[in-house]
Every structure is written in C-alpha cells, then in structure tokens.
C-alpha cells in the first residue's frame, strides 16, 4: 500500500482535526438504538436455563411442564441445534445449548420463547434437569494432574487444550553469552470486559425464508458464517445487522449461543424473538482476559542488553476454545517487539477448566506477558545499576527491524515516547528519590495494527468499502466495520471527506450490515482504522478519478491540475475556475451513468514462513511508553495512582481528540486490571463465580481513576491510511507494569501478581519486615510434557524465515 495512502499529502483539511464523531449527537440525545432498544410487533422474549453445576453429564431433561405453561411459544434444547461452532476453526467445540454435557456453571441447557420475559423466566423453573456430576477441573494445577474426565474429547492430553514450543535462534547459546541470567515467575489474574451494555439480540425470520439478526456483535462477518453453518441456512438468506455496541473491548467478538438460539427460535415460531442477557449472564458469556502463569528467564549483559529470553506461559482457558489458540500465541509473540531480543524461546500451554471461557480482551493475550517482561526489566535495570528508562531507550529496537521471531516492525518511535514521559513526569527528579510511600515506575510496549491473517484461511480482502455518489452531491460510504464506540464510522467519513474535498458531516456512513455493506472482518485486533481506512482511500481515490475526468473535460483543464477542497473542484493554478462538488458529481453522472466505486485492503505478506508465523505479524506496530506515579499506604496496603503519563506512537492521528480518548480509556482499563479487577471463583469445587455483578466485581469509578497526561507521537507509517496506526489497545499494555514498578519504588516490595490488592502488598511488606524477600507472587511454575520445539533461525543468523531441522545435541552448549 506504500505510496497510495496519502501520507505525504500536505494541507490536510480533515485528517488531524478534532471533528466530533459522526454519531456523537445521536449518542448524547439517546436517539441511537442499541440492540435491546429494538422492539418489533409480536416480539417474543427468550430466557436461557443455565447449568447450576460446573461439570456434569445431563441424564434427563423434562420440558413438558414448561411447554404447557401459558404464554410459552417454544422450548429449545441442544438436540435442536446439533452443529458445533466456535470462534476459531481449530476449536469449534461449542453447542448453542448443551448436549449431554455441561462444562461450567452458566452453560445454557434449554431456551424458552414466551410472550414476555416474566413468563419465560417462570417457565424456566418448570424445566427439570437431572445431572450426574463429574469431577471438576478448577485450575491449571488440576488440569495438569487430572486427565480424566476430560472437559473436551479433543485437544492434546487430558485437559490440556494446546501446547506450543518455538525456538528462534539458540537461547542456550544466548544465555551462555550473558553476564547474568534471571528467571521470574509471575501471574496475571483474569478479568472481564464489563461493557456496560449487556449482550442483546433480536431475530426475525420472515416467510420468504430470510433471517435477520440484529445483535451487539463486534465481528458481524464471522457470526454470519457461524449462523449459516449451525442453522443450516444459505449465507445469502441471512442478514446480520451489528447494532452499535455499548462497549465491546473484545467481549462481543465470539459467536454467542444466545445469538444462535434466538435465530432458531424465530425460525420455529415465525415471530421476532429477542434476548437480553442479565448482567450475571454476561459474566458467564465472558471471553475475557485469560489468567496466565508465566516464567520469564532472561540473559542480559551489564549494559542491560538482552542476550536471550526463554518465556513460558500457561493459560487457564476455561470451558471452551473460543479464540484461545490465538490468545495462546499472543502470550509470547510480541515479547521481541520493544527491547531487542536476539534469541527467543517461547513455550505456551492452554488448559481447559470448568469456568467461563476466556478469550480476547483489549490487548488480547499480550498484556499478561508484557507485564511479566516489563517488571522483569525493572529488576534487570536495578541489578545492573541502570536507570530503567535509559536502559529501555538504549536497547529499544530500531524502526524497520525484523525481530528474532520474524515480525517485521515498520515505524516505531519508542525512544521518542520514552523521552516524552520521562520529561513530562519529572522522572529524573522522582525515580528512587521520592519519600517512602510514593513512587514512580516506567514500562513500554508495542502492539499490532491488525493481524496479517483472517480467522479462516482465504485470499480475499480483509476490508471492503463501497462508495455511492449521486446527482444530489450525496456521498454514502458502505463498509462492514462495526462501531463499538471507538469511532470507526467517523474514520470512514473523515477519510472519504479528505480525499473528495468535502465535509465529513456531508457524508452518510452505513456500516455493520451483511446485506448492505461489503465484508470487513470486524472490530478486533486494532485493525479497523488501518484496514477500512486504506480501503476507503482506494474507493475515494477512484471516485475522485471519475469526477476528475468529467470536470477536466468540462473546464478544459488537465485532470492533474484539479484540486478537491472546500466542497469544490477547481483548477489549482486558477482556483476561481471550478465548480461545486455537487456540480462535479452531476457532470460525472451524466458522463458515466450511475456512480459507484469500491476499495479493498489486504495486509502485506509477512517474512516468517514457519507454522504459526501468521499470528503476530501486522501491517504496522505502535509503541507506547508510560510512567505511573503511585502512593502506597504501608499501614493498609492500599495503592492509589494520582497520575499516569503516557506517550503513544499513533503514526498519524486521523482525529487527535478520538486518539486521546482511546488512550485515556486504555489507561483506565489498565489501572483497573492493575489494582482491582479479577474474574475469580469460589474456592471450593463448585466453581461458582465469586461476584458476577458490578457491585462486587471491582472496577475503577471516578474516585479511583487517575489523571492522565497524554502525548501523541506521529511517526507516519507508510502502511497506515494517511500514516495512521492503532490507538485502542496498545496503550493499555504498559500501564499495569508501570504501576507495579512504581509500587516497588514506593515501598520496596515486588508484587508479581495482578491485581495488586492491599492484602498482597501487606503480605509482601510483612515478609520484608521479617527479613524475607519483599515479594508477593507465585514461586512454582508447573511443567508438563512438551512437544519438540519448532526451531527457526533468526534473521540475525541469516535465516530464511522457515523452520529448520536441527540436531538438539549439537545446538545445546
């Protein structure tokens, strides 16, 4: 895409300007319709009967009383939807309703459609289910120890879902080169998205055999495919309309059982069927942050350079696969993208447990290892006596590198980001200099702007945009992207407006509708601005070409001399000579007939050629540096964060206001994970969620939220539209480790487990007072039998990106 993305263009009128969002006004007036705001005549309501036990065989279900209950229109069971599905093709292990087996508290076993929610709820109580309990797998340790019963019949061994081992270069040789080697074991607890909007869906099956599903999904396109498969309908008969999401954060990416269930119930009853999950049910739907236990062994020199890293992770996946295989990769593949790592070995295991399934939450699998790495770098800096900010800057990987694991990094202004937060925070005056109880910490990160590979293999575009122009001067942009609050609709309008020289609010944007809009893969992996943006540029440039030809002929001015700006098309050398945009479209329609263009985008190929190398590469990487200031009360262990400084390399802010907003949201979510959010279960074998409610699942309110000082660094990435990269996920990554490092600066204890709750701080402080190690965190990293490593020579060793066969005995020193 380099060259065609307009990055070099000057005199931008829309890009870089703080326009409000195209949907801002309908959001502040309550006009915008979310899924649960939709009501249709004759609409039925659905409730799901959910398992009350964590692991059992279903012996018997008797629905006769429920069926006879007045107002009940249909009862659905697992056998009515026998086809399995799941977010990734490698782990399609879900049934819309349980068949024979429940795997977690909250697994749906039956569904009722009734005239209203009350009747449906009452009828649920009339369904009788007999369970035969099975042993519960509660933890990573259980999953390693208990091979029978298996939660799923597929996977690797017993309850191990996935194992993978990669070695890039030769870590033992790297360790042999090191002045020091240290291993740190850390744990990052799971957390959930907690989007304020509860998942809701409304299905309608009309008598012409067409299904329409309005639903709060981030990934409409993938859902469309799953519906076709499970419902046995042709894709062309299914229309999915992604309603604006009331927050997503990854929690609305998977295809969900309730979406399939209401579709099926609409097909059975011939009436519209709606469901809105209760907040408690949203906790069961989950798909949030995986709890990850990590061991990071790193060799380094006195100057803080890393010679090798051996990073191991174990993910507690919960009851289903979901996006888990991808999450598993992500717990290791971006460790090489900030601090130069010449030799890298990565081993990961994902296990099944009888808990709500984990999946993609903001940062998808990368906040956990980033945390581990950044708190270790803090220790490394201390061990070699270097300033951790200086050390990070010194060894930051340069732009245009290829990492040991074959990830090509384009622009990356990490040094500049570090400089910004160091200067802004007064780092030099504060680090190790503040009074006891106050501290500062620094951390960095890098993140992808979209993935190089779609979820199912295909060679088609990742994003498509269509543009319709007509004689009214109206421009309509159609794109399958989904607005989840990040501003993706606005980005389309800004970009098309810039290229055509019109105002963004002149443009109508239609998104998230499989009937009307061309395919875009969805709002995940921070892909939307870059991919839809590039597709929009292409469509708009094609439209501009059409207009140019028509206007050039009319004005008798060479096309190359025409400018598009301020709702006019004019001769650049004689701006008086020109016409309004509306007239230009009119002319073009006269000359060419009905006007429409398309644009599409597919990421460039990645240099890695080994199995698994498609996960991690991205058209562009952002990087972020953050300094957190904390206050730790040594009497109570309570940590408060007055302020966070954060600098993010955005490439180019398409709209700085929205970028700053995304970054503040990232800091907020990072703060929540660092200090309080945890998705945990009662400590017996019943695996009941500890607190499936807003009240008890702690998240930051206005009283806990810190001040944020944001810096935007613009490195102009040649692969990004107008140079833009992502902002929605990357900036979260450095926040938790910066806070942990600041806690150490404040009171001299290391909390190696997220969240950093007061009890952990107190335990570490007490241990320290007794002369023991001032630390709280895991000490044991369990092992299981691992497969042979896939060995790949690094670019530094002259590798070709392919896996090599090598004799293990020869490579070990």
């Amino acid at each position: 895409m380099a060259g065609s993305n307009g990055a070099k263009r000057r005199g931008l009128k829309v890009i870089g300007k703080p326009f409000h969002k195209v949907d801002a006004k309908v959001k502040v007036t309550g006009e915008l319709k979310f899924a649960d705001d939709l009501m249709l005549p004759r609409m039925l309501h659905t409730r799901l009967l959910r398992s009350t036990v964590p692991h059992a065989r279903i012996v018997k279900i008797d629905t006769s009383k429920a069926e006879a209950y007045p107002g009940v229109k249909a009862v659905l069971l697992g056998k009515d939807l026998p086809t399995t599905y799941g977010a990734l093709p490698v782990s399609e292990d879900e049934h819309a309703l349980a068949i024979d087996r429940v795997r977690m508290v909250g697994d749906p076993v039956a569904a009722i459609a009734a005239v209203d929610e009350d009747v449906a709820t009452e009828a649920l109580d009339l369904i009788e289910v007999e369970y035969e309990l099975l042993q519960t797998i509660t933890s990573i340790q259980d999953a390693y120890a208990i091979t029978e019963p298996r939660i799923h019949e597929y996977g690797e061994l017993g309850n191990i879902h996935r194992r993978q081992v990669y070695e890039f270069g030769n870590v033992e040789a790297g360790f042999a080169d090191a002045d020091f080697v240290r291993e740190d074991i850390t744990f990052y607890e799971g957390s959930t998205h907690l989007a304020l909007e509860q998942h809701a869906s409304l299905a309608q099956f009309s008598h012409d055999g067409k299904l329409t599903l309005w639903t709060s999904t981030q990934d409409m396109h993938y859902l469309h495919r799953h519906l076709a498969k499970v419902l046995g309908l042709p894709g062309s008969h299914i229309r999915v309309i992604a309603t604006p999401n009331g927050g997503g954060f990854g929690g609305k990416c998977d295809p969900f059982n309730h979406e399939i269930v209401v579709s099926k119930l609409a097909m059975i009853t011939g009436r519209p069927v709606k469901i809105c999950l209760t907040r408690e049910e949203v906790f069961y739907a989950h798909r949030g942050r995986h709890p990850v236990l990590m061991s990071t062994k790193t060799g380094f020199k006195k100057d803080g350079s890393i010679t090798a890293m051996h990073h191991r992770t174990i993910l507690d996946g919960g009851a289903y696969g979901g996006h888990g295989v991808a999450s598993t990769f992500y717990t290791g593949i971006l460790q090489t993208t900030t601090h130069n790592v010449p030799h890298y070995k990565f081993e990961a295991v994902r296990v099944f447990t009888n808990k709500a399934p984990c999946g993609p939450k903001r940062g998808h699998g990368t906040p956990q290892p980033r945390w581990a790495q950044e708190i270790q770098l803090d220790r490394i800096a201390e061990q070699v006596g270097l300033d951790p900010a200086e050390m990070r800057k010194q060894h930051a990987i340069p732009p245009n590198s290829i990492t040991a694991n074959w990830i090509r990094i384009g622009t990356l202004a990490l040094g500049e980001c570090i400089d910004k937060v160091v200067k802004g925070s007064g780092w030099k005056e504060k680090f190790r200099k503040l009074p006891y109880g106050k501290g500062v910490g620094i951390a960095c990160s890098a993140y992808m702007t979209g993935t190089q590979t779609p979820i199912y293999y295909n060679k088609m575009p990742h994003s498509g945009v269509q543009l319709k122009l007509d004689r009214s001067g109206g421009v309509c942009v159609y794109c399958g992207s989904v607005e989840i609050g990040q501003g993706s609709d606005s980005i389309l309008a800004y970009i098309v407006a810039e290229v055509l020289g019109i105002h963004p609010f002149d443009i109508r944007v239609v998104t998230g509708d499989t009937d009307l809009t061309p395919v875009d893969l969805g709002s995940y992996s921070s892909r939307v601005t870059l991919m839809t943006g590039n597709a929009a540029i292409q469509a708009a440039e094609r439209a501009r070409e059409i207009l140019r030809q028509a206007v050039s002929e009319k004005l008798d001015v060479p096309g190359s001399r025409l400018s598009f700006a301020d709702r006019r098309v004019f001769d650049t050398e004689n701006p008086e000579k020109g016409m309004s945009f509306v007239e230009a479209v009119w002319l073009a329609e006269e000359k060419f007939g009905t006007l429409g263009t398309t644009g599409s985008y597919k990421p460039p190929a990645a240099p890695g050629k080994y199995k698994g190398s498609t996960i991690g590469p991205s058209p562009a990487f952002t990087c972020t540096a953050s300094v957190a200031e904390v206050e730790v009360n040594p009497e109570t262990g309570i940590v408060t964060v007055p302020r966070v400084w954060i600098a993010h390399d955005i490439g180019q802010a398409i709209n700085p206001l929205l970028v700053v907003g995304q970054i503040e949201g990232c800091v907020y979510m990072g703060l929540g994970e660092a200090l309080m959010e945890e998705m945990t279960y009662r400590g017996n074998r019943n695996m009941v969620h500890k607190f499936p409610s807003f009240l008890e699942y702690k998240s930051p309110t206005t009283l806990e939220m810190c001040d944020v000082v944001t810096y935007l660094v613009e490195s102009q990435d040649p692969n990004g539209p107008f140079g833009a990269k992502e902002a929605g996920q990357g900036p979260q990554l450095p926040v938790p480790p910066a806070i942990a490092n600041a806690v150490y600066d404040a009171v001299g204890v290391r909390i190696d487990e997220i969240p950093i709750t007061p009890d952990k701080v107190m335990k570490a402080l007490r241990a320290k007072a007794k002369g023991k190690e001032g630390r709280y965190g895991p000490t044991v990293f369990p092992t299981c039998e691992m497969p042979e490593a896939i060995v790949v020579k690094t670019p530094f060793e002259g590798g070709d990106g392919k896996a090599v066969e090598r004799e293990p005995a020869l490579s070990r020193k």
Binding site: P18, H20, K21, D23, A24, K25, K27, V28, T29, G30, E31, K33, F34, D36, D37, M39, D118, H193, L194, A195, L196, E197, Q198, P244, N245, G246, G247, T278, R279, G424, G485, G487, P656, L657, L658, V659, V660, G661, I663, E664, G665, C666, V667, Y668, M669, L671, S693, F694, L695, S699, T701, T702, L703, M705, D707, V708, V709, T710, Y711, L712
Partner: protein, 182 residues
C-alpha cells in the same frame, strides 16, 4: 391509580397511572411490578434510558424524578404516579442540545454512548446545584455512574466546559485535552 387485582393465572392486572414525562402529561398502563426503567423503555418507548445491571450498580439507568437523580431500575413505575420524570430525551430543547449534550459531543465524552444518558442527567443536576463545580465535586457527583470507555476524563472536561458556558464564560476546551501535551 386503579386497584390491582389478580387475573386468572395469578398475574396482576395492569396498573394505570398519570405522570409528567419530559414536560408532558402522560398516562400509562403496565404490570404493577414493573420498574420505572421498564415502564419508560417498554411502555413509553423512551429507550434513551439504558441499563447495565438492573440492580442499582452501574448508573446507566439514572433519570430525574422531580429534578433529583433516581436509578430507574430500583424504582417502581407505580412510585412516580403524579411526579415529574426527566429522561435524556427531555434534555434538548427542540433541536437545540443542552450545553452538556453539546460538550459531550464536542469532546468525545460519549465513546460508545451507553453510559451517557445516565451521566448527562446526573451532571445536569450537579450543575444546577453547583454552577461551577470543581473537578472533585464532579468526581463525587458521578461516582455512581460507571463508564468503561472514557476513563471519565473527557466526561469531566465536558462537564467543566458546559458549566463554564452556562455561566456565560468563554468556553473553549483546553488544547491538551484535544491534541495531547506537547
């Protein structure tokens, strides 16, 4: 209010009440156990009021009853008989947005927009009581309204800007809140 009586299958007959909603006199009939939230959304079609928990924990459903913020998921519909309810739909005057709505739109204080109606109404009451609230007063007033998108910062800035404008002071947002710091 009409007396409620049990119907055949143990259901209660609908209650029928009058109240003021956004300045208009309305009548509405609904099952008597329904919450104000449900009555507003389902029986009056005012879906601008949102819900995140229906347990009084998130603040999404805040509306004003006689000018005071109330969590509509915790109030019975019956309880507002004869009272004055204001929802987000009642904030704009015709096509003119309330200053808070204007600044929330301008500053990106509504990202997904789901928490926004509840926050707008809560902030409206704050500004009516404290015309130029301090940052701490804003935090205190909004402590019961969760927002998962914004980190609250753009919300504070929008409340401050609206308060300034309503007090007739020059209301320009700080450069840093739009472009970040230099």
């Amino acid at each position: 209010m009409k007396q409620t009586r049990k119907k055949g299958n143990g259901r209660l007959q609908k209650a029928h009440i009058r109240l003021q909603v956004n300045g208009e006199q309305v009548e509405v009939a609904f099952a008597p156990h329904k919450t104000l939230l449900e009555v507003l959304r389902e029986d009056l079609g005012l879906t601008g009021t949102k819900h995140g928990c229906e347990l009084g924990e998130c603040g999404c459903c805040a509306v004003l009853v006689d000018g005071k913020p109330v969590l509509s998921c915790l109030a019975l519909g019956l309880a507002v008989e004869g009272h004055e309810v204001t929802t987000v739909e009642g904030m704009a005057q015709g096509t003119e947005l309330h200053p808070l709505q204007q600044t929330f739109a301008e500053l990106g204080a509504a990202q997904c927009g789901y928490c926004t109606p509840g926050i707008l109404l809560t902030a409206k009451v704050l500004i009516e009581k404290v015309p130029r609230p301090s940052r701490d007063e804003i935090k205190e007033a909004l402590a019961g309204n969760l927002c998962r998108c914004t980190g609250y910062i753009k919300i504070y800035e929008a409340v401050e800007l609206a308060a300034a404008r309503m007090a007739g002071e020059p209301g320009e947002p700080a450069k840093e809140s739009i472009y970040g710091w230099e």
